[in-house]
């Protein structure tokens, strides 16, 4: 099973891939409307917002958690 290089989500079904394209290495949640992959800043902001919304963390703590999670992912190595 493929895993999104930008957020780590497992990708199985066609609709989980960016633009429904199974040759892509990133998921539908990490794609911009035009299908290109979001930037580091866009993803960090999106992940932070998601953690605050679904887990209720303090915003700064959520951003730190998002940054640490992203540091493990292939798309953001060397940052």
């Amino acid at each position: 099973m493929k895993t999104c290089i930008a957020c780590g989500m497992p990708m199985e079904k066609k609709e989980e891939f960016a633009m429904g394209d199974t040759s892509k290495d990133y998921c539908v949640f990490c794609a911009r409307p035009d299908g290109s992959m979001q930037s580091y800043e866009e993803k960090l902001e999106g992940m932070t917002r998601f953690i605050v919304k679904t887990q209720g963390f303090d915003e700064k703590a959520a951003q730190n958690a998002a940054r640490e999670m992203m540091a493990k992912l292939p798309a953001w190595q060397g940052r």
Binding site: P10, K53, Q55
Partner: protein, 195 residues
Amino acid sequence: MTISKRQVRKDQTQKQLIAVAFDEFSREGFMVTRTSDIAKAAGVSHGTIFAHFATREDLLIAVIEEFGHRVAGRMHELANQGGSVREVLEAHLQGLTEVEAFYRRLVSESSLLPSGAQSALVAIQSAISIHLSQAAEQEMAAGKIRKIPLHLLFNTWIGLIHYYLSNAPLFAPGESVLKRYGPELLEYFVSLITV
């Protein structure tokens, strides 16, 4: 590129150490288990551990991350079989029951763990909350469940499960807390949120 036999052997040893450490941490907990205990259980010298992991903390984080990948993958697999809030929660309980001993240690000792290990736990919860939030938003829109902020919905569920897990010796001494109470907790929680 060919991978040398030496590299293959190194990877195998590393995987074996992670698997043995997983069992030892599950049984004894993160704070008490010593690297020498892990080396002994794995049948290797104490030094071998540090040839693969620079510090005890690195080993600990590697084990928790490996566990996180397993839980996230399993959750994804199980939750994709259905789409309702109840099905997501059932999948969550099923996934956790399979690895209950380790998860219980993680929950009980999380505030004492290094930050890298804590962020691995946040990553696990994020993998769960994405499935729960998607299902809950649909059911809220359809008027099936009460309109509750997503973080409170998630934290109420997690709080309930974690309370039972962290007090396992009181609720289910010597047996699985989730097997014994999971179905009851699930029914109770669903009854709280159902319109």
